[in-house]
């Protein structure tokens, strides 16, 4: 085991895959200096400018480079800088990448990883903070991942690069500097499996990405005051681990889904609906969702604080769910 930040872990994960497979290459803005956050630092000197491609500000073309590159037999890793900017390439993501294999009757495989550093960081406001993972989960053809820990970010990035399907890889930009233990060797995390963060019997909390680290603190606080919370970090949003969620809900009878995205039509709605359709008999309380209000992310600190799903919000929701 070594200890690394999320940022170091994903950088190493990409470098390992590029060493392993000469058809893996990365493309995005400012990659020659390591990308916006340094998640590509040092890679250009090892792999050269044809495999660490520093691109113009051309999101539609960056994503197209991924698709065209895949159709020509390579495995591109496409950097979107911040998730919000992927909206400038939504046609390429939804109309082209996601459908190419199906539309062409299976002639094409599209092993592209699209990296979306996502979520709120202080003062980033409405166009640099939003969480739109449920859009991508809605689109047939895409795999959607949203890990939170250093080990999972590395292990799932490596699995994503090896995946034959296009992967939307959502990265927890607010917690790049969180550290964690990384297993030695070729550490790949299987796609589609949730991580059991804490075992418990009273209430099931399901979450992902940055919220997993916030929820973890909330859960620890509740455990201290006697509530035995089970916490699942979903990690994979499509496919998501229905087995782990159903099993947990069967045990606890209570489900709280927490996400940073706007609550309305967020992925929480799908998870709650799926649980209700399948294991309603095991529920002793109505399931709950906790997400952002249906408003753009605001700028001013008090507005931002009111907008965020906080540790306190999560604790309160858990306590309400176990109240007699």
């Amino acid at each position: 085991m070594t200890t690394q930040t999320v940022l170091e872990a994903v950088r190493d994960g990409l470098a390992e895959e590029m060493r392993r497979d000469a058809t893996v290459w990365a493309v995005g803005e400012d990659l020659h200096i390591g990308g916006l956050y340094g998640q590509y630092r040092g890679l250009i000197s090892e792999f050269g400018p044809d495999r660490i491609v520093a691109s113009p500000i051309s999101e539609a073309m960056i994503v197209s480079a991924g698709l065209g590159g895949a159709l020509a037999g390579t495995r591109p890793v496409v950097e979107m800088r911040i998730a919000d900017f992927a909206l400038s390439a939504i046609d390429e993501l939804v109309n082209q990448i996601a459908k190419a294999r199906f539309m062409f009757g299976g002639q094409a495989r599209v092993p592209v990883v699209v990296r979306l550093p996502q979520g709120m960081v202080t003062g980033s406001a409405a166009q640099h903070s939003q969480s739109l993972e449920s859009w991508y989960v809605h689109v047939p053809g895409l795999v959607v991942l949203a890990p939170s820990t250093a080990a999972d970010c590395k292990g799932l990035l490596k699995s994503a690069i090896r995946c034959e399907d296009p992967v939307i890889f959502i990265e927890p930009r607010a917690i790049w500097q969180n550290t964690g233990e990384i297993p030695e060797g070729d550490h790949c995390v299987p796609i589609g499996e949730a991580r059991l963060v804490r075992k418990g019997g009273d209430v099931t909390v399901v979450t992902w990405s940055t919220m997993a680290s916030v929820a973890h603190k909330a859960v620890e606080a509740c455990v201290e005051t006697g509530t035995d919370v089970e916490l699942l970090d979903l990690r994979s949003l499509w496919p998501w681990d229905t087995g782990a969620v159903f099993a947990s809900v069967k045990k606890t009878g209570r489900l709280l889904v927490v996400h940073e995205a706007v609550q309305v039509c967020g992925l929480g709605a799908e998870i709650v609906a799926t649980v209700v359709e399948n294991v309603h008999g095991d529920l002793c309380r109505p399931p709950r969702r906790l997400g952002a209000p249906r408003a753009p992310v605001p700028f001013s600190p008090p507005l931002e604080a009111a907008y965020r799903v906080s540790q306190q919000n999560i604790e309160q929701a858990i306590r309400e769910m176990v109240a007699p």
Partner: protein, 327 residues
């Protein structure tokens, strides 16, 4: 002009004519089949524009790649896609190029280097440029050609793709197939500046304007450009000026078109022009032979399409994705 003396030139001219005939007869047959209710959905026909597809693809090798548009039957045929698999695709059959999942607007034949028609105007430009970048990563010398309409030059991907290809000196041949109209609008009315080639030139991309109804002119231009791409890298740009003899879709009667221009253009049908030339070269017998050959192929493609089965409904779920596949 009398006899054409060079044997290679003769072969080349006949091959180009044959490609144009295949496209024309394929689309005429599809047009009838659509009207008869055998082909679902609509069709965007390239009747009158065949010289662009035939000329450009004559400069390409099998390993070279192309991307195409919603009006892409000609590009596919010229790049070597199977006529019968294409016809079966239009008929929605399981033997189609895309197993009946794509239809006219998504025909692709990866075995022929044809990376797909596209239902989104301008959608193929970035894919072609990306493919060229992928080929570079793989150390391949192949070139990529990218067909798009005059309407696509007003969309953002046009600028993004050209700038990118020029910046990275990728061997991409951009082919603006200008048929005068973008759907029901005369494109020039809503396009600022001195035209597509001028836009490309402004980015330092070497460009040519050619008569897109003269298949030899297109073929010569493409051969020169592709040769340069292979030698020096790219990109390069061809603005091929042609004319759409049919409506935008099969349902469109073209009432918005200038009647005088239309009649003039009917006389400039690229197949008529080439047939006249071949006759002048004393090759009418070869032309007749080609017509019979093409007719036989189209008839066989129609029979095969009609006889083929439809896909099983369960195939909706196949080839969406392996991980997280729908159930």
């Amino acid at each position: 002009m009398t006899d054409i003396d060079n044997n290679n030139e003769r072969k080349r001219a006949l091959a180009l004519h044959r490609t144009m005939l295949s496209i024309r007869r394929f689309e005429e047959a599809a047009e009838i089949a659509q009207r008869d209710g055998e082909i679902p959905g609509t069709l965007h026909l390239s009747i009158g524009q065949e010289a662009v597809a035939a000329g450009v693809c004559s400069a390409l090798e099998p390993a070279d790649l192309i991307t195409s548009t919603h009006r892409g039957h000609g590009h596919s045929i010229a790049k070597g896609a199977s006529l019968s698999a294409m016809m079966a695709e239009l008929f929605g059959r399981v033997t189609g190029t895309c197993k009946g999942k794509g239809g006219s607007m998504h025909i692709a034949d990866f075995s022929a280097g044809m990376l797909g028609a596209n239902g989104v105007v301008g959608g193929g430009l970035g894919i072609a440029v990306g493919a060229a970048q992928g080929l570079r990563v793989r150390g391949s010398e192949a070139v990529t050609a990218c067909f798009f309409g005059d309407g696509a030059v007003n969309r953002g991907p046009f600028l993004e793709s050209l700038n990118w290809a020029a910046t990275f000196r990728l061997p991409v041949l951009f082919v603006c197939e200008d048929n005068g109209y973008a759907a029901f609008t005369e494109t020039a009315r809503l396009t600022a500046g001195a035209g597509p080639a001028a836009r490309a030139e402004s980015l330092g991309i070497q460009s040519m304007v050619v008569d897109g109804n003269d298949v030899l002119a297109v073929a010569d231009a493409a051969a020169a450009m592709v040769e340069r791409l292979r030698r020096e890298g790219g990109p390069a740009f061809i603005h091929a000026q042609t004319y759409r003899l049919r409506g935008h879709t099969i349902a469109d009667q073209g009432a918005y078109r200038d009647a005088e221009r239309h009649s003039r253009q009917e006389l400039r049908d690229p197949i008529l022009l080439m047939r006249q030339r071949l006759t002048d070269w004393n090759l009418s017998q070869d032309v007749q032979r080609l017509q019979v050959e093409v007719e036989t192929e189209i008839a066989a493609a129609l029979v095969a399409a009609r006889e083929a089965v439809f896909p099983e409904p369960a195939s909706i779920y196949a080839e969406v994705q392996d991980i997280g596949a729908p159930a």
